[in-house]
Symmetry: C3
């Protein structure tokens, strides 16, 4: 929930002047959990951010410029609640130093034609990861746990900077009145920087209980990259009323290698409670599976308590862990026979 | 003074909707002074931040979640007014690069049981330093001037990261209705980082003119630390009407060595003016004394002019200086016979 | 346009309390453009910030402290819309990591005597650059393109940190009621840092269609500097109604060398459109000229579309480019015979 700092409204109530179209909103999410992750080499207890949703600080606004047109801006940066730091927003777990606007910094013009958006933004291929994951791509049962590996040099790492977001992006978004069809198209200027150049699109359909989307993107070979990285994915959810089922499939390929990841999940709401589960599989030649179980209790629309359990099983040679976005424990002792990593956390998410 | 950006209020006045419980507050303190510090090696004139109070930028809010419960958040970072930089909040004088939320970043749940607070926060043993110092632990007469020394490798430095604040903290605070008794208890996860693991508590009593508090904390031996650091302190103040007297005592020990610091102070308000004095003594084997004299004139509740003088006398081997949180001048020429460091500043503090 | 988050107004409308003098304002400018810069070595296409105006995020406020006096503060940092980073504010094109308040962080007391301002602020000699440039010292036709050169070690670079702003500054500004006369005087404490110590002043006259200003400043020889840097400049504009003409002249000298830059420009408003042109010349021994042409269309007072063209002609030995504040392309291939650099961009500027 974003608080609308409606200057115009305040002034109007006060002095009968100003226009109602202008507003600056300040909002965000702060999420922090007590977490324990166990690998063969040992266990690490942490207070970590982002168990249920990724923490963020947002300043945004919309201007009505007439003729059905709007200009708007969006500045959003990460917040590491455990340390007071910001995070790059690029790499999961990066809790660098200062505050940035690297989660999103965009200026948009929108109207009946849709929206044109300029700046740093999410790539088209990112959205499937988070929107069709019962765990919101956060915490120990994060669907992306099966994508972050020290042994997986290619293909995903080769397009690292465009996995979630890209700098220098021009985006076009379809208008909202197409009978359930939605979509976007993105181009990011490479500016001569390795792994920066991206082109991608996304098309989806959301009506009634159904929501499905397909996305495709290419990160251009630049600098030290030896081959383009091609990514496509498919995600969907269906609301049965008593339960929402979700699924997603990803295919990342580069240099003759392919990473295939799949996930099935479900969310069962019971009053203010939600029960969640997901099962993920990495189809890389270094394969692993992840089971996630979660419980969420909404104290209000803005504030929730939650607890999550996750178990990652690695086949020989793989080293995926259930570390989420907190401080990681190295999977030492991960030999040639595979190993299991388990994560557990309990926390609170507050949005403002 | 924090400005309440009461979106709810604005909307209610405007359109008769929304609830009154939600708010985001933006506030802070900006404090800057012309300062001169003289050591045997020379004098340094600076424009320095934080002569009367530490500069900060705060975003915070409270949500009423019903049943007498509240959820709240607090994001606070340092501001180096002289350079436009942020500061780590950990080390005095660190004016690093960018803005952070390292002064405090917490999420809380509170009710009749008290408050549970998660994130980066002040340690229990910190509060005595600032609350019972006429100079608010800031400026050239800062009580902590006698704690920062290049020659004092142990015991204080050994627990450096927990002296003021700690990452990864879980805190419990007593409710406010215990007849004057207040207190808190804190545990910080070490996460395998040297000097990060902390456990501490604080108990106080404030009623009428009296306020006293005792705190104890242990920074666990980790990584390169060879011994735990134990800290305890006692502080108090009594308001005689025409004058408020204050005092504090600190005992930091580690590896067989102990640092004992004591301070006595007074504040005499006369209309919009306040006259202040403090005398501090470091009982470390490298001992020093500090005399602080100050005058503050309140232009309003939010804005004050002030001037402060400080004189630090070092015995042989000690190198404490009156440098406060500004750019430091090295105490070159500090030989085996001891030396005197003097500081003087005049500035303005504005809170918003 | 800054949004006034008038807490006082909101509260007054809501509950009839609080005073009307207090306010915190949040505002800024976000500007981003698709840009292409061509040098002999090649062309670089970028999405770059700051084509029409420099992007920024501002928090500021004013307090009426009675007796005609006001206390105020101003925190302003750069925003790299293309990457979500902040910028140092010192060097054009620096898109460093995190958000800072390095564009300006000041506390002021003002009244009928004028204004006293403390903190990091613009130097007196900066203002001529931006106020009398049709392109606002931004984008590919930025007047300062002829000042940034890898081959121009002195004199400008020798006073680099004070070219735009200075840390540790005490400033005095004349009051606004002197019949059109305006001015300021600034002193920045060096604090022993090379190139940090500055003293300067500015005097101007603005009445009816006329605005002229003269500024002079000295950056003291410190540390590795071998000589003081002296700067003076003169700027003016005259509004003919159908057209505004502008001009500026700069003289930077240090160590026996002098850089002389001159610019003539014009802005022709036609309804919501503005046509702009400027011609600049660097009188350094490594000389160059720049021609800038621009078109701006105001969608509203806050939002504008624009496009700009620029051509820099270098004589033998010079390497000035039309790179503005975006990612630069090296002028490889710039031989002994001189070369031409061209820039083109189209973008949007949104203020809030």
């Amino acid at each position: 929930m974003k608080r609308t700092l409606l200057a115009a409204a305040a002034l109007m109530a006060f002095a009968g002047v100003a226009s109602a179209q202008s507003s600056v909103n300040i909002g965000g999410i702060l999420d922090v959990a007590a977490r324990s992750v166990s690998n063969p080499g040992g266990a690490l207890k942490t207070l970590s951010p982002d168990g249920l949703q990724t923490s963020r600080f947002i300043v945004r606004g919309v201007e009505d410029i007439g003729g059905g047109m709007r200009a708007s801006f969006w500045l959003e940066g990460a917040v590491s609640v455990d340390s007071g730091g910001g995070a790059s927003g690029g790499a999961p777990g990066a809790t660098g130093g200062g505050h940035t606007w690297q989660r999103r910094s965009t200026v948009s013009l929108s109207g009946s034609f849709g929206e044109i958006r300029l700046g740093r933004d999410y790539t088209s291929t990112f959205w499937t990861h988070v929107l069709f994951d019962p765990f919101n791509l956060a915490g120990v049962a994060n669907q992306a746990n099966l994508m972050t590996s020290t042994k997986m040099a290619t293909p995903v790492n080769s397009g690292g900077t465009t996995l979630l977001r890209a700098n220098n992006m021009i985006g076009y978004f379809l208008p909202g009145n197409l009978g359930g069809i939605y979509g976007q198209f993105n181009v990011a200027a490479g500016e001569g920087v390795t792994g920066n150049k991206y082109i991608g699109g996304r098309l989806g359909y959301a009506k009634g209980p159904l929501n499905v989307a397909f996305a495709y993107g290419v990160t251009d070979k630049t600098g030290t990259m030896t081959d383009d990285m091609k990514a496509w994915n498919l995600g969907g959810s269906y609301d049965l009323g008593f339960m929402r089922v979700l699924g997603q499939y990803h295919n990342y390929s580069s240099g003759g290698r392919t990473l295939k990841n799949a996930m099935l999940g479900a969310v069962v709401p019971v009053g203010a409670s939600s029960f969640k589960a997901s099962y993920s599989r990495s189809g890389d030649f270094r394969a692993a599976t992840q089971l996630g179980l979660g419980y969420q209790y909404d104290l209000s629309k803005r504030t929730a308590l939650y607890t999550t359990y996750s178990r990652v099983k690695n086949k020989a040679g793989a080293d995926f862990t259930a570390s989420g976005s907190g401080r990681a424990i190295a999977a030492t002792g991960a030999g040639s026979t595979g190993f299991t990593s388990t994560g557990y956390e309990a926390g609170v998410r507050h949005s403002f």
